[in-house]
């Protein structure tokens, strides 16, 4: 029997809520919970899936919860092998007892995963990248500090004045930072707030490492982050000659080449 449109919509949003809360539900439980037949539950699922509000699986469905986090993982997965190499080179710099800052971005995610594999003792990790917390929260023996800030819509980063202020109060041995582009005039990033935070971190960090793979070469972004003179270390899959060809000449010892 036909039922008011509004009832259908209500049921479907209840379904998304349920999945959001529970993460995963098999069809059978969905039917019971919603009080509808299997056929209707399936119809709801395929409707919601085409709106990309949920993800169907064989036998049930997943909530599109932490859409930001999962898209993060997606991006990382499509990220080149280069990123994994950079992460390895970066993680190798981390020694026991250090206080390490990890930036926003997927490179930091890769570094965190690498650190999970080979975890130095008494590590303190400082970050504003919420996507890392699932990875870092369960590390035994490591301390994780989150700088505060405003949650960026559709992203999993905290930014703003709170973040800058909190960064200025930290002691950082080693900061891993990333950027969206590099040219002969320096590094570029998309948002002013990100740059402000990065600059605050660099001021407090004994050593600042920028991690950029070759896809960033020659690209710019709306905001200028800083000149090459401010870069302590560059970790990249690019070689010295390749960089010079693009007009970038680094002081010796600045470039750290990652293995592929």
């Amino acid at each position: 029997m036909r039922v008011p449109r509004q009832v259908v919509e209500a049921r479907r949003s209840r379904l998304t809520e349920l999945l959001l809360e529970r993460g995963y539900l098999p069809i059978s439980e969905l039917c019971e919970e919603l009080g509808v037949s299997e056929a209707t539950a399936r119809r709801d699922l395929s409707a919601l899936e085409s709106e990309e509000r949920i993800t169907r699986t064989y036998g049930g469905a997943l909530g599109e919860f932490n859409a930001t986090f999962t898209s993060f993982r997606e991006r990382l997965r499509h990220g080149t092998e280069a990123k994994a190499g950079i992460a390895r080179a970066a993680a190798a710099l981390v020694k026991p007892g250090m206080q390490v800052y990890l930036d926003a971005g997927t490179t930091a995610f890769a570094i965190a995963q690498e650190l999970r594999r080979h975890l130095p003792e008494r590590l303190t990790i400082i970050t504003n990248n919420l996507a890392l917390l699932e990875t870092l929260g369960s590390l035994p023996g490591a301390k994780t500090i989150v700088l505060g800030g405003q949650l960026l819509e559709r992203q999993s980063v905290l930014l703003g004045n709170e973040a800058v202020k909190a960064a200025a109060a930290q002691e950082i041995d080693l900061a891993f930072l990333s950027a969206q582009g590099m040219t002969d005039t320096g590094l570029w990033n998309s948002q002013r707030d990100i740059i402000r935070l990065q600059q605050a971190v660099m001021k407090r960090a004994t050593r600042s490492c920028f991690c950029l793979d070759r896809s960033k070469l020659g690209r710019t972004a709306p905001e200028h982050l800083g000149a090459w003179t401010r870069v302590g270390t560059l970790i990249s899959d690019l070689s010295f000659p390749e960089l010079r060809q693009a007009g970038i000449t680094l002081k010796p010892g600045t470039l750290l080449n990652s293995q592929p």
Copy 2:
């Protein structure tokens, strides 16, 4: 053919990693990814499931990622109807343009879900409860601020000096707080760090609402949070006479009764 124990273990931990990264994977992809037959993949899955390192589903498996968050959801689900009533009463106090603080705990989670349903305009939400961010991050038109702090192992809360300092710099119209127990001598909570943060928040909040359901009545906890004189509003499913019977006498207007 039999294979070294170490190989099996390596494959299984790779499997957990994969699920951790991708959230969900169907059996077929697992076989391909691990290079084993379906039978072996299933055996791995049931082994890991019995160790509670993953969750099996019909047709695949879920990573036990953000175990903290999911256990959060579990707890919330088992939470009584009372909690939902309290959340409704709490959310009704929130008016457009307010800056609202949400505490750690599942009650705050329930309030956040309620706010998502009926979202006042220009809302600012301040919290240290990371479990809320999935819910609050996608709210259009609302601003979410996270106080910094140290990530508590096996929980999704940020605490410590950073948190207290950040709280002291906030302007809060309405704070929703919870506690683990209430007796005639006041409110109780488990950890000193939580209490320090709550006290800092109360100092900055125009109005502080404590949300406690009847299961908390008569219970204590290791640390004393404060006397009843410091409670601005109590939202509960308990009635005035019930409280008085337990030796708790509130000033008129302090108790806000939630509908069941």
